[in-house]
Symmetry: D2
Subunit: 355 residues, 4 copies
């Protein structure tokens, strides 16, 4: 069972990049929920390509149609199915790739798993395009969380060698998250943000690509969420985050930096401040023992460089012959900016499921 | 559902640190499997405390009894339940803690989630002791994998500021893994290993604790394992790894370092070498598109410093008063060495489940 | 999670009777399976209304479109989504019903569960129309089973007071099942079949409806299928069968008649006949201890009379007022004949899942 | 995954009849619930054998020990594990059976499924003894339901050819259920009850066994429970009921008798009576469209005659030879009376899960 996830709400995705369409069925939404579809569209537009020189020139219109579970602006309580039809199918760009496994992609592993029956056009079911239905679903979860004042936001903390400061894990607030949401390339430090964008364009002009780190925060989360032993809050979030094909690392709070700390620093001393239990630092990222503690939830994901690059690469074709490959077509030199709404969507889905 | 995990095999744990016992039910093992119980005991001994000045002086005998599902040295096909009775219960050490939330622990979050009804003695269900049943289960999975020549091993790649080199992700082999298994403090470089141990003892004598990084490798894994979209191999492994209370970061292959690389480096060029499809580098850690590619599977987990320290800390008691706390009792100044068999057990459980 | 089912294969349905469409996502089909779509269409036609005076005059074209997971006549290994668009929407017939709860229907219980937000038009998600996607999915399962020579068939064993003999549970064979499949009103005894049809027409002309019993058989099933304790073969089949809204009883083998038997009769004596282990009788319907024993699997389902009748009934409207109701529109005087392919589809799905 | 069940609460059973013990882990109970253990013991005693000439002379003490999840009379919120040690193990009685498949039992099907590795002593995991942990779990669920005034009760509606009237499905009330609970052989009509007991003793003296029907009622159930499409209330109950090895039929409301009714009778006319929505009849057994409607939930289960009989039977041994068999040991001539608390336990578990 690969295409479904969730306990409280059950998500089931389907679709291939160059098939008839891609979609998601969301089962378990309470009846009578109003959904702001314009807001959902805005989230999808944040993910859509073709908006700047930083992303692929492909112009995909991610217009969705709701097929069920939604009537007169409200959920009906039965499964809500939304579909995005595939309109812009330039299969030709990929035709030759069908037989040369693109390094860094799922071409080879997919051909093994699906015994060469998988749809190779445009990456098929492995296409980043499959994250669009997730953004649809996450946009709904995000709205529902916002009504409880639980807010999710994120910034690009690193592109290649350019890094900006991490969130202040204690003082991160609504204003900062709202400001980030307005930016097409969300950063805390605009100057460093410009340098990051330059490094993307440099890689692009070299026919290469770069990766980066997205840091996300969830604020106003109540204490007590998460289901240890096996379904710790970290487990639930990491499970979903690692389903994004480009994610290769996930850390909470100070994450890997905790490995270099002393317990006396890492422990986050607790205080009662005006009848709120808070911690003076937040190295644990708002999660202790797999359960939220009421402090901001902080996590970072490592995004690898886009595997589709123009530079010549060595690889193997479907016949097993050693060959060289130049990936044609139009690709993102860096997927990080477009991954922002996906990461936020997934965080919203995960949190809605344990709330 | 917090205490159960798994699809092919279904694991269900129970127990509290100072209750009658802790255990695990393993449902779905094929009938007729021989299990080497002496080997299982060896794995549990790797996790057991009291073996060196590096770990707590508590002497827990993790002797297990199999209650069902096992007859004449073989699985019967019905659920296998194993229980470790709790013999060494020094509740007094923790009695006072019941009312002072230990920073960095689940004391506060557990009291919120379980409305103050959870068993606080020794950490209750949150105790690291609950990892013993996982080691039991993982030891079985490890044996079954070994019969297919799939081997799992790991080393302590970092303690506090002392780091040793990572695995050679392409050339890591059986000899290296077997050599690591023989070491009580498994490292690739003995000199750096001694420095790591020194840094643990320094922290101990200061009444403090340190964290570290465990790097693990799984070799001879066939290509084609993992179930994207939602159950990528990374998702499955990370889900389980993040259920270990001390784990705050998980990365695959080059992980967070990929964020600083170019696509042309990160992509792992593919070759046909003597009719095997291999990659010349292994920055993706043996996983592409969420599916194994036949190269060594490499991952690292960040372990935070043990939260139980002798140094005085500021915290809040159950009445909500600001208080200072000195954690008594005997604690591990660093949990990393004892976490090694747990990480390996969990990797074995995850891989056995998707095989 | 109401809309999804299955372990090996995961089914997720969506849609409402008068919404944009109804569909099903089938996740977990092995890659490379050829599917005979003409055969799938034939199964859907067996369920479709409008074919005879015995069923509703509504003319629904259950033409499906496959949106994903299927390429060049074969499964790709990614989720297969099929959708039937709703073309014939005569909402007006039901408009007034929205406010008068139809006795015997889910109108009242649905309004309680979904807090009056469910789509009432045509029964919404509760419509019998939702069984069409199940027939689609079951038709695929049926094909896959047939390739292993596992055959499913059924007959109408009772309509109202007219009953025909049950299957010979030991000697039921391929010829009988194939003959039944050719009949639009499948019975073992044509004369009794005619009487059954007459009793349907009598009820129809009286503005009333009748129920009946469907008896199904699955032959050539290998011994050893089913997963006790909780997922006995009976549990799996009954779970799915009771999701059909009209089913109110399920029995296996001699079923309720076993309550009147002696153990010496009920036990089905075992014999080795030409190296096959068989039983001389089959009162247990091919299942012992929740596991198939290699004998024909026999079960019966009780189908209640169609609740939509023209006769005046007493009921309550949405305001809670006592009112009288005459259900207009065109309805089946008996749903049993159209339920035949649904019961067979569900049996195929259940058996494919445990095979 | 055979040994686990449940969504809200997750149950996981283990154990074999003649192994070290049998048990159940209950995960998901809210923290802080008081449990009346004396009441749990009373339920287990209802199931225990050796109390009357109607049941086996085996004297099993089903004394349970709680290993986790329960402290100071209340649940802790972590998994509650209860174990019943096996004390009375007369393996010798069964020794020879190991090689002769008992007709009507799971001996043959179990040997196929578990490849002859299953524990054959006393039926192993297939033993009716495994229902004791279910009664333990159900006794807890029953208590929790009772606190919400939801009551479960049942009577023996038939033994062999002796049947008593069914419940009045509209007027069944607390008094009737409480009276039934006090009876060791619960019936509505004492005279018919005596005849039923006589028929059991007649079968016993003939070395034979008889079956019967248990009818159960759940009253004060709120409307709106059940999760169609796939998890209708009927599906959830039937799934669990059919995991009891002796159950071969399940029907709701008028069940199979509905097949003989007209829609105008079967539809249960609705009325508003003092601001309650009720039905004048209850042929649908309190469930419409898979969801409870607030009327009494009524169901019946068919229990087959105990397969272990003293009379000589024809069967096959493990070598595949045709042999005759006389089952020794002490067996229940009729399992129906002891199945009563199991059926009630399972109903309680199912209802607690969907509440």
């Amino acid at each position: 069972m690969s295409g479904s996830w969730g306990k409280k709400v059950h998500y089931s995705i389907f679709g291939e990049s160059h098939g008839k369409g891609i979609g998601i069925t969301i089962d378990g939404l309470p009846p009578g929920l109003e959904i702001d579809l314009a807001e959902v569209t805005r989230e999808l537009e944040r993910r859509a390509p073709g908006k700047s020189p930083l992303s692929t020139a492909r112009n995909e219109k991610d217009a969705f149609t709701i097929w069920s579970g939604f009537l007169n602006g409200k959920t009906t309580g039965s499964p809500l199915c939304a579909i995005i039809e595939n309109s812009n199918q330039r299969s030709a760009d990929y035709e030759s790739l069908a037989w040369k496994f693109r390094p860094g992609h799922a071409d080879y592993t997919g051909s093994i798993k699906y015994k060469n029956h998988n749809d190779l056009r445009g990456g098929g079911h492995f296409s980043g395009r499959l994250t669009a239905p997730l953004v649809f679903a996450g946009a709904i979860a995000k709205q529902l969380l916002k009504r409880q004042d639980i807010l999710i936001g994120s910034h690009i903390q690193r592109i290649a060698s350019i890094a900006e400061p991490q969130f202040d894990a204690v003082r991160i607030d609504k204003n900062i998250l709202q400001q980030l949401e307005l930016q097409s390339f969300p950063v805390l430090d605009p100057l460093l943000g410009e340098k990051m964008q330059e490094s993307i364009l440099v890689a692009k002009s070299a026919g290469d690509s770069v990766g980066g780190i997205i840091e996300a925060a969830v604020i106003h989360l109540p204490a007590g969420l998460g289901d240890p032993f096996f379904d710790s809050l970290e487990s639930t979030l990491a499970h979903l985050l690692f389903s994004i094909p480009a994610v290769k690392g996930v850390e909470f709070g100070s994450g890997f930096a905790l490995a270099q700390m002393q317990g006396s620093d890492a422990n986050d001393a607790m205080y009662n401040q005006n009848n709120s239990i808070i911690t003076s630092t937040n190295h644990n990222g708002g999660i202790l023992g797999g359960i939220s503690n009421g402090m901001p939830l902080i996590f970072r994901v490592a995004i690898k460089p886009t595997p589709s690059i123009a530079l010549e690469q060595h690889t193997v074709n479907a016949k097993g012959e050693n060959v060289s490959l130049q990936v044609g077509g139009r690709h993102d030199p860096c997927i990080v900016p477009r991954a922002i709404p996906v990461v936020e969507a997934i965080a919203a889905m995960a949190i809605w499921d344990v709330l």
